[in-house]
């Protein structure tokens, strides 16, 4: 009775389509209906309900896992229609965690043994999609039987399932493999196609284990006319040939034959790919492949162009001549409409770059970058940057040209790679002395341009430019203009941290100018008025420009501005005409001299291994437990309270300083016990490990930026600097290439290539699978010599440990290794003998003689 009023799937769909709004309420109403209907006892009602549910789950993403048990009930019906619906639901919704998975085994077994081949196929398909380890184990005997069935339809499907079964349960290999190999020799093309597919997958996972089957594959390669099969075979051979080079010789012939004869582009491409990746030592084959690639490249179809370029990029590492031959095609492809094609062409072009053509190629690429959309433009920029900076700028001979190229890149409208350019500008400044004048020139050009300040992507470049100008100010032609550029009002657009860099650079320029002024004054008896006026101008410009920033919101900017202004205030007195600089009151002069000294110390690159090179001084204990120190230092290391702080309570992180301060604090410790003893955990921790904490107080504000408080770091740095720099200076290039300071492993490439894709494979499963296959094959060979019906007392020559070693919990459930006769069921929970592990890897896989 329910049936009459139950909506079928068609009604549901029609109803859904008529619904314009309120889709979710429609779905929930339908769901309620389904829940009611599915509990009915009548199987037809149940199955229709399940049918609707599957539809909703597939298309609208409704969860259907609650209906798992009902699906099972439907599947047990004898009507094929119901079975189909049930299996469909199961395939869609079951997964490893489904609780009723155990119940399905028997049902599957019944269906696998059924006479009706369509029921069998349903069951097989279901198994292939949801197969778990237990299912695979329990049903592998049935699968084995079906592999030998007389109906090719069934055999084909069984072959398809085999892969999943092997995957989940490697022991099944021993059972089923023989049949699989027999199927390889069949003349039925359907089954052949399926079997070759299975071997294709097996070969990708582990080529060595499939190597003994190479003769059979070879026969099929030569005979078959079916393109799909041929493509799969080529994949197999590509994997095998990379493992066994002698195979390549034999196989190259038929592959070339196919390449010449066939019309189908897909087969040609697969041949080309195989040749280029695995048979790259066979010159004749490679040349033919390259000729075919050229045909692809001139096609109009973007698919073919893309594939041609892709194949060329696979060939590029070993056969650069192929790429160079097709250079025009590649360059033309840069302007193609399709983004994939353009990207491949770009990568190919980058592979072609050498010392000689780097400027030419960069010129071409910059032109393209100006014309392209932002995405591709940035791709070009980043690839040029990465190639040129590889291995500490190995490729660049003319650094002046490269630096001006960097400046050009900054002016490309769509450029978004500011950080990389910034990094390279500074890097080159540190490593290449001779390029510094050009760097300063380029930076100056960038700094005076007010338009660039508005582009936020360029701010990193501007910060690098200003740093460079400040650091290497001695090379600049006109410090006055430089300073004007650095304090121009439009710099308000910059973020505060870059502003701070600007101010610091202004400071450096000021120190430089003042220093030279003072030294000029000292050497010559009187100063000319023009020099005096210019320096006064400079100081005034700076003062006017920086003064507004002394009230800036950002603390960094404010601090630096105040430093500069303070310094100016002090220096102004001494700039006056008639001051005698030998006077002791000429403070500014001395301070300036000191500043100059400080700024003249070069910052350079430090190798990542530099610390290791510093040998540990004798008597320095690095490994000792420092717990004992607490007794010594405990009295002096008190938790710091924010209010009761005094200057003498500085907690320093240097052990040497601690000894000095010990004496200081010993005198004042009695007076400086904190008023309230804090009992928080943090305080306790600080007490115990206080010496590892950084200084918690700010420095005195009138220290004027002189880094007196951190001499240890500087000392160490200068030590490290001197050591690796000298012995590692690169020899002068024949074209007077400037010296590039290159340290051992100092620079990893910052730009990671996007091509690193690796397949995730569970290693243990693959190992077990491959060992199983290997053993099965060897048994196969030996079994052909001996009789098949062998008692399993004497067993396989090669004893192995299966993956159970890695999964000890399954050690109880081992199956028998070998079947006695065909068709014997080996399921059950026999305890098998312990197998000793043999170094199966050392066993050479035999290669049949006909191939050698």
């Amino acid at each position: 009775m329910d049936n009459l009023f139950q909506r079928s799937l068609e009604d549901l769909i029609k109803g859904f389509r008529l619904q314009l709004l309120g889709e979710s309420s429609f779905i929930s109403r339908a769901l309620e209906e389904i829940r009611r209907e599915v509990k009915a006892t009548d199987l037809s009602t149940k199955s229709t309900a399940l049918h609707k549910l599957s539809y909703l789950a597939a298309i609208h993403g409704v969860d259907m896992s609650w209906a798992a048990f009902h699906a099972l009930e439907v599947v047990s019906s004898s009507r094929f229609h119901h079975k189909r619906i049930g299996y469909q639901a199961i395939t869609q919704s079951f997964h490893d965690q489904t609780s009723v998975l155990l119940l399905i085994t028997n049902q599957l077994r019944k269906d696998l043994n059924s006479v009706n081949e369509y029921e069998v196929s349903l069951a097989l398909e279901c198994l292939s999609r949801i197969g778990t380890r237990d299912l695979a184990r329990d049903l592998s005997p049935e699968v084995f039987t079906l592999l030998g069935s007389s109906k090719s339809f069934v055999r084909k499907k069984a072959t398809g399932v085999v892969l999943r079964v092997f995957d989940k349960y490697p022991d099944a290999v021993k059972v089923c493999f023989k049949r699989l190999v027999e199927n390889l020799e069949t003349s039925d093309p359907q089954i052949l196609s399926a079997v070759v597919g299975v071997f294709c997958e097996l070969a990708s996972k582990d080529p060595t284990s499939c190597l003994p089957l190479a003769p059979e594959f070879f026969k099929i390669l030569v005979d078959s006319r079916n393109n799909w099969v041929l493509i799969k075979l080529l994949k197999i051979f590509s994997k095998l040939a990379s493992v066994e080079p002698r195979l390549g010789r034999k196989v190259a012939e038929p592959i070339c034959e196919h390449m010449k004869r066939t019309v189908a582009k897909s087969l040609v491409f697969e041949c080309v790919r195989t040749v280029v990746s695995s048979l790259s030592d066979h010159e004749a084959a490679v040349e033919l492949a390259v000729a075919k690639i050229r045909e692809f490249l001139v096609e109009d179809d973007p698919n073919l162009k893309y594939l041609g370029l892709h194949a060329l990029s696979i060939a590029a590492p070993k056969h650069l001549w192929a790429v160079l031959e097709n250079k025009e095609a590649v360059v033309k492809a840069l302007s193609d409409e399709d983004p994939n094609v353009k990207l491949e062409a770009l990568h190919l072009l980058m592979a072609m770059v050498t010392e000689d053509n780097v400027s030419e190629i960069s010129r071409i690429l910059m032109n393209y970058a100006l014309k392209s959309d932002p995405l591709f433009c940035n791709e070009i920029i980043i690839s040029v940057l990465s190639v040129c900076s590889r291995n500490a700028y190995e490729i660049i001979v003319d650094f002046d040209w490269y630096v001006s190229l960097l400046g050009e890149m900054a002016r490309i409208p769509h450029c978004q790679r500011g950080e990389e350019i910034e990094h390279q500008l500074i890097d080159i400044g540190m490593r290449v002395r001779d390029a510094r004048p050009q760097l300063v020139r380029v930076s100056w050009a960038l700094l005076i341009d007010p338009a660039l300040l508005g582009n936020m992507f360029l701010h990193p470049i501007l910060s690098a430019a200003s740093w460079v100008s400040g650091e290497y100010v001695e090379f600049s032609k006109n410090p006055y203009e430089l300073v004007e550029a650095l304090v121009q009002p439009r710099t308000d657009l910059l973020p505060p941290y870059i502003r701070a860099i600007y101010i610091h650079s202004v400071f450096k320029v000021l120190v430089f100018c003042l220093g030279s002024y003072f030294s000029a004054q000292e050497s010559s008896s009187g100063s000319s008025s023009t020099v005096y006026e210019s320096i006064l101008n400079l100081v005034n410009v700076i003062e006017i420009g920086v003064w507004p920033l002394s009230g800036a919101y950002d603390v960094e900017v404010q601090e630096r501005a105040k430093n500069v202004l303070g310094f100016i205030g002090m220096a102004k007195q001494d700039i006056a005409k008639n001051v005698n600089l030998q006077d002791n009151d000429a403070e500014a002069c001395r301070v300036t001299a000191f500043m100059e000294d400080m700024f003249s110390e070069e910052l350079g690159p430090i190798s990542a291994n530099a610390q290791e090179k510093v040998c540990v001084p004798d008597g320095l204990e690095l490994e000792e437990n420092l717990g004992d120190l607490e007794e010594i230092c405990g009295k002096f290391l008190k938790p710091v309270e924010s209010d009761s702080v005094s200057c003498t309570d500085k907690i320093s992180f240097s052990v040497s300083k601690l000894r000095i301060r010990d004496q200081q604090e010993a005198s004042s410790s009695s007076t400086s016990l904190p008023a309230k003893a804090s009992s928080s955990l943090l305080a306790e921790h600080r007490k115990r490990h206080g010496m590892y904490y950084l200084t918690s107080e700010k420095n005195d504000p009138d220290s004027n930026g002189t880094p007196k408080d951190y001499p240890p770091a500087n000392d160490l740095a200068s030590e490290i600097l001197l050591d690796p720099l000298d012995p590692k200076r690169k020899a002068k290039h024949r074209k007077s290439r400037p010296v590039v300071v290159k340290l051992d492993e100092g620079g990893e490439s910052r730009i990671t290539t996007s091509q690193a894709k690796t397949k995730q494979e569970s290693v243990t499963d693959d190992e077990s699978l491959s060992r199983a296959i290997q053993s099965a094959l060897l048994v196969n060979k030996k079994g052909k010599e001996r009789e098949k019906c062998e008692g399993n007392s004497n067993l396989v020559v090669q004893e192995e440990e299966t993956s159970r070693i890695e999964k000890p919990q399954n050690s109880e459930k081992k199956k028998k290794k070998k079947k006695k006769k065909n068709g014997e069921r080996t399921s059950g929970k026999h305890r098998s003998r312990r197998r000793s592990e043999v170094a199966s890897s050392s066993e050479q896989v035999e290669i049949p003689d006909l191939l050698l």
């Binding site: 068609e10 769909i13 049918h51 599957s54 539809y55 597939a58 298309i59 993403g61 969860d63 094929f80 189909r84 619906i85 469909q88 369509y118 196929s121 398909e125 292939s128 999609r129 339809f153 084909k156 499907k157 072959t159 398809g160 399932v161 892969l163 359907q190 196609s193 399926a194 597919g197 299975v198 294709c200 997958e201 990708s204 006319r225 079916n226 393109n227 799909w228 493509i231 994949k235 066939t262 019309v263 189908a264 582009k265 897909s266 491409f269 697969e270 790919r273 109009d300 179809d301 973007p302 698919n303 893309y306 594939l307 409409e337 399709d338 983004p339 994939n340 094609v341 894709k757 397949k759």
Partner: protein
């Protein structure tokens, strides 16, 4: 393992058929479909004309004939660690997600084969046919692909069990 999933999506982004050959949870599937569909639809917006001559392989009979597809754009998209090969037929996008080492042109042929098979069975197949006979489409796909590998490429062989079942029903 060859093919990871097959999707049929219409122009508005609604999924009409989804077949996965590895288990993904519901949220993962939705997220995946959303991302891929967006990528492919965005690329195709730029197509102005859609004139085609097709190339196909008639593998079972051993006869090789050819039609060439003149798309404006490449039919391959890279997504995470696999490739998506897609093609648009009228209002429906057919997308197949494959491993990196799969032959793209062969997958394009496979898509075309699928469309032709459905065409033969339903007679001038359109999106509505797939919507109303979803399980038949699933069935066809299951005949062609098992475990992510293409096992059957002959239209006759694919359709015969389905036709039998329809007759018996």
């Amino acid at each position: 393992m060859g093919i990871r999933f097959i999707l049929m999506v219409n122009k508005q982004g609604q999924t009409r058929l989804a077949q996965y050959y590895e288990w993904l949870t519901l949220e993962e599937r939705r997220a995946l479909e959303g991302e891929i569909v967006r990528k492919c639809l965005a690329r195709n917006d730029q197509q102005i004309r859609f004139e085609l001559m097709f190339e196909f392989l008639c593998s079972y009979a051993g006869v090789l004939a050819g039609w060439l597809a003149l798309n404006e754009q490449c039919s391959f998209v890279e997504h995470r660690n696999y490739k998506i090969v897609y093609r648009r037929y009228a209002s429906l996008f057919f997308m197949v997600g494959v491993d990196d080492d799969e032959n793209e042109l062969a997958i394009l042929e496979f898509i075309h084969l699928l469309v032709e098979t459905m065409d033969k069975h339903f007679g001038n197949v359109c999106e509505l046919d797939i919507m109303f006979h979803l399980e038949k489409a699933h069935f066809m796909l299951e005949e062609m692909v098992m475990n992510g590998c293409i096992v059957e490429t002959s239209k006759a062989n694919i359709l015969s069990p389905i036709q039998l079942m329809d007759k018996a029903h």
